[in-house]
């Protein structure tokens, strides 16, 4: 059974462009040329009950806009969506009780109050009965290890602690669907790990459906078996996470630093040049050539430092997108 069904979802925004300078501002005051940005273009997918899906894509790809439409914050320009039998943008209260949205860059907690006050407010907003409230609060705060911090003012908490409180506030009514928009943004590694473990637990324990957007590959890798990649508003990939890894696992990035200038033409035969100048170079090299290419370069060039890395998520996505458009 599907919990989310999306068909040809489309969202365009009207905006104005203004060139720099006062003269152009004056011009703009009288005549504005409106432009249309297609934020989401005909996106379709289904998400099963209890599934945890990663939503990846570079900045401005349309991930957040899609989440906002699926949570009823935005009306789409066209297309259909069915979320647990509801049309999200009809904004029915019964629908709102089913889900929660957590945005890493926006908070719902009252800044000057202890988090417990905001959580209690949510209890009243969602009509959670006292017994369930007490149990949920104890369970969630224990899982996230923040029992001692519930009565500390939010503004005195660290970023990681605040995000944990945001999660408790969002989950106090036990939503069956969870939208997470960059939940680990800005967090240090241990906090990211804790949040990921917690989300995994919530997904397994309560069978909640999770749709997660993130810039961190690790978030998606740990939590989601399935990944949807969106780029420039269109769906670029929908499939198992490990398959993307496989697609790009065959490429490696070599970063080089030279003691003397090296011309670009000399490097071309070793791999695709991503960036560089006389003293630095970043090359993309096929995995199966890595050994011989490395050996040859060490022999030929005055290398003083070098690293071998995986292809970054942004690079993978743009590569994938280029592939998709080429088909």
């Amino acid at each position: 059974m599907d919990s989310i069904r999306v068909r040809n979802l489309h969202k365009s925004f009207v905006y104005y462009r203004k060139e720099a300078g006062l003269k152009n501002s004056l011009k703009n005051l009288f005549a504005r040329k409106s432009l249309v940005k297609e934020a989401v273009k005909s996106v379709s997918f289904d998400i099963g009950l209890g599934e945890c899906v990663g939503f990846l894509g570079p900045n401005g790809a349309g991930k957040t806009t899609t989440l906002k439409m699926l949570s009823g914050i935005l009306y789409p320009t066209s297309g259909e969506a069915d979320v647990f039998g509801y049309v999200p943008w009809e904004r029915k209260n019964e629908f709102k009780r089913l889900f929660s949205i957590v945005m890493g860059q926006k908070n719902q907690l009252w800044w000057d109050l202890p988090a417990s006050e905001s959580i209690y407010l949510n209890k009243c907003i969602y009509d959670v009965d006292d017994d369930l409230y007490r149990r949920s609060l104890a369970e969630l705060s224990e899982m996230l290890d923040v029992q001692e911090l519930l009565n500390v003012q939010v503004r005195r908490l660290s970023l990681g602690e605040r995000m944990k409180m945001e999660l408790i506030a969002a989950l106090i009514h036990r939503p069956r669907l969870l939208y997470l928009d960059e939940p680990t943004i800005g967090l240090d590694f241990p906090s990211q790990k804790k949040v990921r473990e917690f989300l995994k637990y919530y997904n397994e324990q309560f069978g909640a459906t999770i749709l997660l957007t993130s810039h961190y590959m690790k978030d998606v890798e740990d939590l989601c078996k399935r990944t949807i990649i969106i780029n420039e508003g269109s769906l670029a990939y929908d499939g198992p996470f490990h398959k993307i890894n496989h697609l790009f696992g065959e490429q490696k990035i070599i970063k080089l630093q030279f003691s003397e200038p090296v011309a670009e033409q000399q490097l071309v035969r070793f791999g695709r040049i991503i960036s560089g100048d006389d003293y630095h170079a970043v090359l993309e090299v096929p995995m199966y050539h890595l050994k011989e290419v490395s050996r040859a370069m060490l022999d030929v060039f005055p290398i003083i430092d070098w690293t071998i890395e995986d292809v970054s998520i942004e690079e993978s996505i743009s590569l994938l997108y280029r592939k998709e458009s080429a088909v």
Binding site: G72, I73, N93, M103, Q108, W110, Y120, C124, I125
Partner: protein, 270 residues
């Protein structure tokens, strides 16, 4: 019926929590709490200078002596207190919610967005001087004009006070509502506040056409005038009933306008 009562109880509980939370937050900053009291007291002092002038010059407006005018000035002071205490902070924040996208999270809550966005903050320090001094002025005027303190007078006055609070909400939220379309509406707030200050005297001081506009088109005069006019026996039952029905209709109109505005909400980039 039972369902409606349950919803009403829920909203009252939530409003109670809003007030409690604001009180806790404001008490965190004692300095600011006291400064707010001081600032509003200074404003009030400036207003009291009018009262002094009225009494010194023995000003009569439409046959109403200075003691009777105290009822109008007192009513205006109480209404100002209600406005700054219950609505001002919220209405100023609505354009911010729209600009920075904070409205997003409020939109996902299973309660009225208008309730959440326009009544969430209650300022408990700012209105104290206005409300206390305003009611003192009304009491002095009430006593000096030999108005009997019957249940009918008291209930009628309280009802018209509620009407004036509803109308204040409806009129003063308009600049905030327009920010859904125009984002920045600071100048409209300025205008609304200037017009507000022009309302602290009986409307009889204005020409007939302004009185008509201020009563039937933009019912600003109802806020300050109808309560005192009722006490002075200058308000017919017809007008009192019209004020009551008018304020409800105005509220319905604002509710519809709000819904229309939210429909076009485009959120902010994250």
């Amino acid at each position: 019926m039972f369902h409606t009562m349950r919803i009403a109880r829920k909203y009252m509980t939530l409003y109670g929590i809003f007030i409690k939370n604001c009180l806790i937050a404001q008490m965190e900053f004692r300095g600011n709490f006291i400064m707010s009291l001081l600032v509003e007291s200074v404003y009030l002092l400036a207003k009291l200078l009018y009262v002094l002038v009225v009494f010194r010059t023995d000003l009569h407006v439409n046959g109403i002596p200075p003691e009777g005018l105290l009822l109008f000035i007192g009513m205006h002071t109480v209404a100002t207190g209600m406005y700054v205490g219950l609505f001002f902070t919220n209405f100023m924040k609505i354009p911010e919610y729209i600009k920075d996208g904070s409205l997003d999270l409020m939109l996902t809550k299973p309660v009225s967005l208008q309730f959440m966005a326009s009544l969430r903050y209650v300022d408990l320090a700012l209105p104290i001087p206005d409300i206390v001094v305003g009611f003192v002025m009304i009491s002095i005027g009430w006593n000096a004009m030999d108005i009997p303190l019957t249940f009918l007078h008291f209930a009628g006055f309280v009802l018209l006070l509620v009407v004036s609070i509803v109308i204040t909400y409806c009129l003063m939220i308009i600049p905030a509502l327009l920010s859904f379309w125009f984002v920045q509406t600071g100048s409209l707030f300025e205008m609304a506040h200037s017009v507000w200050d022009a309302n602290n005297f009986p409307m009889a001081i204005y020409p007939a056409w302004i009185r008509r506009i201020g009563t039937f088109v933009v019912p600003l005069f109802l806020i300050t005038n109808f309560g005192p006019m009722f006490l002075l026996g200058q308000l017919s039952w017809l007008y009192a009933a019209m004020a009551l029905i008018g304020s409800l209709l105005l509220f319905v109109a604002i509710r519809l306008l709000w819904k229309q505005a939210v429909k076009g909400y485009s959120s902010a980039s994250s």
